[in-house]
């Protein structure tokens, strides 16, 4: 059983506070959805969890099975079992999937001899053309191909906890279904814990969440079961724009700063 525990996390970018005391726990086999309007801090959270440069953690903690994640360099967080499926995967000219995953396996002391076959198997599972496997990373891929590529890496790297940022963008209905099936299978077969970030309920009709958290203005302002996502689809986020934070005593007492 693995547990990613985010406690009262506050993060600034260039002196502006983006996250204001976020607390959230993801355990093995669970699917959590993080929803919220543009600019609420969803992507910031995903970046901070993997240690992307440019963010300043001003308070709180993140731990994976009790080990402090925030002091680890990014690659060690990945080695420890965190995975980030990116909203906009970066093009890396001249570097293939095989090069990158081979280097990742080597760094973790995993035998990479069957890697090529693993890639082919995973590609097949999500309907990702074999021709893409030898391409430079994310170069000349469509949005949907990039998301399949991210999912394929998830399948091969077998992380403990995956943060999937806007996994649904660019995917058509069929691809969304295949990719969602693959992620759900990982939760069942490998006990993967998932934090999926999305604007829309569309993804959550395929990748069924156990819990839904609503992030607005850097705070978790509402939490509930899968039904909450359906409700949001009808009502939108307007009511949360000026809502009081609902999560914890600490955040309730945090000083103001809501814009609306």
């Amino acid at each position: 059983m693995t547990e990613l525990v985010i406690t009262d996390l506050s993060v600034s970018v260039g002196g502006n506070e983006i996250l204001r005391g976020v607390s959230l726990t993801v355990r093995s086999g669970e699917v959590h959805a993080l929803m919220g309007p543009n600019g609420s801090g969803k992507s910031t959270l995903s970046h901070v969890l993997l240690g992307k440069p440019g963010y300043e953690v001003t308070g709180g903690s993140v731990s994976l099975d009790g080990v402090d994640v925030l002091t680890m360099p990014t690659w060690e967080r990945a080695k420890a079992g965190l995975f980030l499926g990116m909203q906009y995967p970066t093009e890396v000219p001249g570097v293939s999937l095989l090069d990158m995953l081979g280097a990742s396996f080597a760094a973790s002391g995993i035998d990479a001899s069957g890697l090529s076959d693993r890639l082919s198997e995973e590609a097949e599972r999500i309907g990702f053309g074999q021709k893409f496997l030898s391409r430079p990373l994310n170069v000349d891929l469509s949005g949907g191909e990039m998301k399949r590529n991210e999912t394929l890496q998830l399948g091969v790297l077998k992380p403990k906890i995956a943060i999937l940022d806007e996994l649904d963008s660019g995917l058509d209905v069929d691809a969304l279904r295949l990719v969602s099936r693959r992620v759900e299978a990982a939760t069942e077969e490998d006990g993967l814990g998932v934090l999926v970030i999305t604007h829309y309920n569309r993804l959550l009709t395929e990748l069924h969440p156990d819990r839904v958290h609503v992030l607005a203005d850097g705070r978790i302002v509402a939490e509930g079961g899968a039904e909450m996502a359906e409700k949001l689809e009808e009502t939108g986020y307007a009511e949360y724009a000026s809502a009081k934070p609902a999560a914890t005593a600490e955040s309730r007492f945090a000083s103001g700063g809501f814009d609306a």
Partner: protein, 398 residues
């Protein structure tokens, strides 16, 4: 020697001149070298590693040059029968420089040993390259190798030159004249693996005839200050000139490239792709001019120079220029100097790749596009090996 005296009467070039701007030419003193005025005779040129042993095995001919002097020529019987001729000392055509020849050009004319002449008969083509192994013995010598490579009408020829040296001090001012006859295919590759005691000021002069394609591809890894000026003249209608370079300077090295793409005839094409890296305190210079002559209507000219800076102290100049005297043309240029991309690093780190390994993958990948353009798989492997050597050294220092 009157010619040498006349050369020394010309002022030494300085970095105040546009042609030599950004580089360390002011620190260079030709007076501290002795000209190589006689052949050192047969020498042992390293054939493992640096001179690409694998490439030599499948060669149509192997020419050995020592301190600028041709000391051995071996031509396979098949290649000779097809029409490959290689000689030293005949015809001595040192007519490549115009009136703007500077002191180094005139010194080259004064001291160049007999010219290495390589030519391919009309309509004939070889499957394997002519390999030149040009070695500098150091010893404070100034060397002036001169080669002329010609293809007859509709001929095809590949020439690959490996430049090596001892670790000693030396100066080299090699000149290569390429002449591609009508509808011919001429490819010249130079892999520069000189020691760090060598200053090189080289020139490539390339004339491309009607419907012919000439490619000059350079890979620069060695030298202390190593410069090549390339003048490509597309003189026949429909001529194509391709310029390719990869360079990687570290420690205190400086790599310097000046290019000219002259479109003197209609419907001519040129494409330049130069990519470089600089690490430690090293630096690189790229300045290039696309010139479309008034007669160059229908020309298509491209110029791309990209540089990656691997340390804070490393530096790179990238200065592309266009001079267009005809409106019916298509020209483009692109130029970048930047450190390793932070997003690319983060992407690889986030998949569990440690930073040093990630940088290695990114730099190798950055060069991939230009390495793939080098003619010949063996050459590409050799260049990848040399990039890996540089990256090994980088890894060992971190």
């Amino acid at each position: 020697m009157a010619a040498a005296e006349a050369a020394f009467e010309l002022p030494p070039p300085t970095a105040e001149e546009e042609q030599w701007r950004y580089g360390p030419i002011n620190d260079f003193e030709i007076e501290s070298y002795e000209p190589s005025v006689a052949s050192p005779g047969p020498i042992q040129v390293p054939t493992e590693g640096p001179s690409g042993a694998a490439a030599l095995e499948a060669a149509s001919a192997v020419v050995t040059v020592a301190d600028g002097w041709v000391v051995n020529i071996e031509v396979s019987a098949d290649a000779a029968a097809l029409g490959l001729t290689i000689q030293a000392g005949l015809n001595e055509p040192r007519t490549g420089f115009g009136e703007d020849a500077d002191r180094f050009d005139r010194l080259h004319e004064a001291f160049a040993p007999p010219t290495l002449c390589i030519s391919m008969r009309d309509g004939a083509e070889l499957e394997t390259p002519v390999v030149i192994r040009s070695h500098h013995t150091g010893q404070g010598r100034a060397c002036f190798p001169h080669a002329v490579v010609e293809t007859g009408e509709d001929a095809g020829l590949d020439v690959v030159e490996y430049q090596t040296s001892t670790s000693g001090k030396g100066f080299a001012a090699p000149v290569v004249q390429l002449s591609a006859g009508a509808a011919s295919r001429l490819r010249y590759v130079v892999v520069q693996e000189l020691g760090e005691g060598i200053v090189q000021l080289g020139r490539i002069l390339c004339n491309v005839g009607s419907q012919a394609t000439a490619t000059a591809a350079m890979a620069a890894f060695g030298g202390s200050y190593a410069r090549v000026r390339t003048d490509t003249r597309l003189v026949g209608r429909g001529a194509t000139g391709n310029l390719i370079a990869i360079y990687y300077a570290d420690q205190n090295q400086v790599h310097d490239f000046r290019t000219y793409q002259h479109h003197d005839a209609p419907d001519t094409q040129s494409d330049l792709m130069f990519k470089g890296a600089a690490d430690d305190n090293a630096g690189s210079i790229y300045t290039g001019l696309i010139h479309i002559h008034p007669d160059g209507r229908g020309s298509n000219a491209h110029q791309t120079n990209r540089n990656i800076k691997l340390s804070d102290a490393a530096w790179a100049w990238s200065v592309p220029n266009l001079e267009i005297e005809n409106n019916e043309v298509r020209c483009s240029h692109a130029s970048t100097v930047s450190p390793i991309d932070l997003d690319q690093q983060f992407y690889l780190h986030s998949r569990g790749v440690p930073p040093a390994v990630a940088d290695r993958l990114i730099v190798s990948g950055f060069f991939g596009e230009v390495v793939d353009r080098f003619p010949g798989v063996g050459i590409q492997d050799e260049i990848r090996r040399l990039v890996a050597e540089k990256l090994d050294r980088r890894g060992a220092n971190q």
